[in-house]
C-alpha cells in the first residue's frame, strides 16, 4: 500500500481503500471542505487527521451555482442547494491540484455532469493528474439537468460509470443516491460497469417552506438534506450496498450525519470501510481528531485489532 506515511496516527486506524492507504477511516466530504485548503483557516485543523479529502463537485465548465438562499437549518440537519458552484475542471487541474499537499492526506476529485459525455471528459482529464481517486457524483439533487437524472436509475448510472471506466485507471468511487427505489440494484449495475467503490449516501431530497411568505426557503426551491437527521437512512443503505459489495471486496465510504465517534463506528459496523464527515464538520471543525480517538478507544475496549476488523461486523437478526 502506497500512501502518506508521515502521519503520527495509531496504525490500527489505517485502512486499505482499493490499494490506497487512508491513515484513518475518516473522509472529509465533497462540498463541505471546498477545494481542500479552506479549513486550514481554523487553528488546530489538519488534513492529516483525515484519511482522505473529497474536493467540491467539479463540472467541465465553471458554474456559478444557485441563487441565495442556499442553506436552511432543519431539525437535526440542514438543507443545501449550492448548485455545484465550481471553477471547472481546468481550474482544478491547473490551479488547485498543484497547490495541494498530498503528503498530508489523499485527495479525491468529485465529478458531476449533465451528460454522460461530460462525465467521461472530466474523468479523462483527471486520469493524467495527481488526484488519488475519482468520485462520480450521480446523485446531486440540486441541479435539475444534472446527476440526479442518472443516479436515480440503475441503467443510466451504469452508463456513466462505464464511460468513466473507459478513460481512467484511477480508483472510481460511485456516489449513490438515497432517492431511488433500489440502491442495491444500482450498486450491482455500477459494479459490473467498473466501479471500484461506493460512497453511500448523498443527501436526501427535501424542501423547507417559509409559512410567512408561502415560499420555499431555498432559492432553488428543493435541496439536499444532510446531518444527523439522515443517519438512520444512511446506515440502512450502507448495509444494503455492503451486501452487494462484500463478495467483490468493494469498499464503501459510509456517510450521512456523522457527528461523533459512535456514529462513525456504527457506519463501520454496517459495512463501511471508511466514514465520511460533512455537516458534522460545520458543527465542529475539529471533529476528526476526536472521532479518531473514540474509534481507537472502541478498538481497545472490544479487543479489536484494527478498524478493518470492525467493518461489516454487524450481527444481523435472523
Amino acid at each position: 500500500m502506497a500512501g502518506p506515511m508521515a502521519s503520527g496516527h495509531d496504525s490500527r486506524l489505517a485502512v486499505d481503500f482499493c490499494g490506497l492507504r487512508f491513515s484513518t477511516p475518516l473522509v472529509l466530504l465533497s462540498g463541505c471542505v471546498g477545494f481542500g485548503d479552506e479549513y486550514t483557516r481554523v487553528e488546530g485543523f489538519s488534513h492529516a487527521d483525515a484519511g482522505a479529502v473529497c474536493l467540491k463537485g467539479t463540472t467541465l465548465a465553471p458554474r456559478t451555482g444557485n441563487d441565495p438562499h442556499r442553506l436552511a437549518e432543519t431539525p437535526d440537519g440542514m438543507l443545501n442547494a449550492i448548485g455545484l458552484q465550481n471553477p471547472g475542471v481546468d481550474a482544478l487541474l491547473d490551479d488547485i491540484l498543484p497547490a495541494l499537499d498530498f503528503s498530508e492526506t489523499r485527495f479525491i476529485a468529485n465529478v458531476s455532469g449533465s451528460t454522460v459525455e461530460e462525465y467521461r471528459e472530466i474523468a479523462r482529464r483527471l486520469d493524467d493528474s495527481p488526484i488519488d481517486a475519482i468520485e462520480i457524483n450521480i446523485s446531486c439533487p440540486n441541479v435539475r439537468e444534472g446527476g440526479v437524472e442518472f443516479g436515480n436509475y440503475p441503467e443510466p448510472s451504469a452508463r456513466v460509470v462505464a464511460a468513466c471506466r473507459a478513460v481512467t485507471d484511477k480508483v472510481l468511487i460511485t456516489k449513490l443516491s438515497p432517492n431511488q427505489a433500489d440502491i442495491a440494484d444500482n450498486a450491482r449495475r455500477c459494479l459490473e460497469a467498473g466501479s471500484d467503490a461506493f460512497a453511500v449516501i448523498n443527501t436526501v431530497a427535501g424542501m423547507a417552506i417559509d409559512a410567512g411568505t408561502r415560499r420555499p426557503v431555498l432559492g432553488n426551491n428543493r435541496g439536499g438534506l444532510s446531518g444527523p437527521a439522515i443517519k438512520p437512512v444512511a446506515l440502512l443503505k450502507v448495509w444494503e450496498v455492503h451486501q452487494v459489495c462484500k463478495p467483490h471486496a468493494a469498499p464503501i465510504i459510509g456517510q450521512g450525519g456523522v457527528a461523533c465517534g459512535r456514529d462513525a463506528i456504527e457506519f463501520l459496523i454496517a459495512g463501511a470501510t471508511a466514514v465520511g464527515i460533512g455537516t458534522g464538520l460545520f458543527y465542529d471543525p475539529l471533529l476528526c481528531p476526536k472521532i479518531n480517538r473514540e474509534i481507537a478507544e472502541y478498538l481497545d475496549e472490544h479487543g479489536m485489532e484494527n478498524v478493518a476488523a470492525l467493518s461489516g461486523s454487524l450481527e444481523w437478526n435472523e
Binding site: 483557516r41 481554523v42 438562499h69
Partner: protein, 294 residues
C-alpha cells in the same frame, strides 16, 4: 499558480459568558471571554456562535467591541428566532462554542480620513467597532462620523449631542451617549419619530451631511455601511452619486463559516465587469459597494 495555504487565524474557543445586558425590543449586548478572538478581532469581522447544545449550526454575529487585554468581545444582537432566543437565555458563567474572528474587515484609508459610518438595526455593531478603532488609531488622524438608524428603540443610552454635525438640522440632535463621551459625532434616524432623531431612513441623514460638505471635504471622505439590504442599496446609490468609495458588510445564511461549503455565496461584479461568486464568510463580509450593487 501556487496558492498559499491559509493562515490559521480563526480560533475555536469555549467562550465564557461574562454577562448580558438587555435592551428594549429583544436586543442584547453579550459579553464573552474569548481571548484569542478578542486579541485578533477587527471591525467588520464576526464570531460564529453555537447558541445551544441541541442547535449545532452556529449563528454569525458581528463583533461590537474587542478588548485584547481583558480577553473579551461584545456582540449586539436581536432575538429573531430559536438561536437568538437561546442565546438570550445564557447567563454569566455559561460556556458557548465559538469560532472567530472570521472574515475580512473594513479597510479605511488614511487618504480619506473622514469616515462616514452608517449602521442600520443589527448592522450597527460593526459600525460602532469601526468608529472606536478609527478614533484610537493615532497615526491615521481619522474623523469618524456615525449615523445610525433603527425602527425599534436604540439599544444604548441616547442623549442630546453638543458636537456639531454639518448639514444636519438643529432638531436632529439625538446621539449615542457613549459616543458623545468619546467626542465622536453621531446622529440617529428612525421612521418611528423618536425624540431628537431624524424622521426617515438613515440614508436621508447621510445625504444631508453630504449635500452640505464642500468639495475638498468630500474628497477626503469614504463611506462604510452595515444594515439591512435595502439600506445598503440606498447607501451604495448615495455613495455613487457623490463619487465616494463605499464598503458594505453583507449578511447571508451560513453553515461552515470558514469557506468550505459555498452556502453563503453572493454574486459580485469583478474588476473586469464579469460576475464572480464570493463567500460572505471569508471573502467578505465586507465588500466594495459597487461590486455588490453596481
Amino acid at each position: 499558480m501556487n496558492r498559499r495555504k491559509n493562515t490559521a487565524a480563526i480560533f475555536a474557543e469555549r467562550a465564557r459568558v461574562v454577562g448580558q445586558q438587555a435592551f428594549d425590543a429583544g436586543q442584547y449586548v453579550l459579553k464573552l471571554h474569548a481571548p484569542r478572538c478578542a486579541a485578533a478581532a477587527a471591525p467588520g469581522q464576526f464570531i460564529h456562535l453555537r447558541c445551544a447544545a441541541d442547535l449545532p449550526l452556529r449563528r454569525p454575529y458581528s463583533i461590537l467591541s474587542a478588548d485584547a487585554a481583558g480577553g473579551e468581545v461584545e456582540m449586539l444582537y436581536k432575538v429573531v428566532g430559536e438561536g437568538s432566543r437561546r442565546l438570550a437565555a445564557c447567563r454569566a458563567g455559561d460556556e458557548l462554542d465559538s469560532l472567530g474572528p472570521i472574515g475580512n474587515a473594513f479597510a479605511p484609508s488614511p487618504e480619506r480620513p473622514n469616515l462616514l459610518l452608517v449602521g442600520g438595526g443589527v448592522g450597527i455593531p460593526p459600525i460602532l467597532f469601526l468608529a472606536a478603532r478609527a478614533r484610537e488609531d493615532a497615526a491615521a488622524n481619522y474623523t469618524p462620523l456615525v449615523l445610525m438608524g433603527s425602527e425599534i428603540p436604540f439599544p444604548f443610552d441616547v442623549t442630546d449631542s453638543s458636537l456639531p454635525f454639518a448639514g444636519v438640522a438643529n432638531g436632529t440632535r439625538a446621539t449615542m451617549a457613549a459616543l458623545e463621551r468619546r467626542g465622536i459625532a453621531a446622529r440617529l434616524a428612525s421612521g418611528r419619530g423618536f425624540a431628537g432623531c431624524y424622521r426617515g431612513h438613515v440614508g436621508g441623514l447621510a445625504r444631508q451631511w453630504l449635500d452640505a460638505a464642500p468639495p475638498e471635504q468630500l474628497a477626503a471622505t469614504a463611506m462604510f455601511a452595515c444594515g439591512p439590504a435595502p439600506m445598503l442599496q440606498d447607501i451604495a446609490r448615495i455613495a455613487a452619486q457623490f463619487s465616494l468609495p463605499c464598503q458594505v458588510a453583507l449578511e447571508e445564511t451560513m453553515a461552515c463559516g470558514v469557506g468550505g461549503c459555498a452556502g453563503c455565496s453572493v454574486a459580485v461584479r469583478d474588476d473586469n465587469g464579469g460576475i464572480a461568486m464570493k463567500r460572505v464568510c471569508v471573502d467578505g463580509p465586507v465588500f466594495n459597494a459597487r461590486a455588490v450593487f453596481g
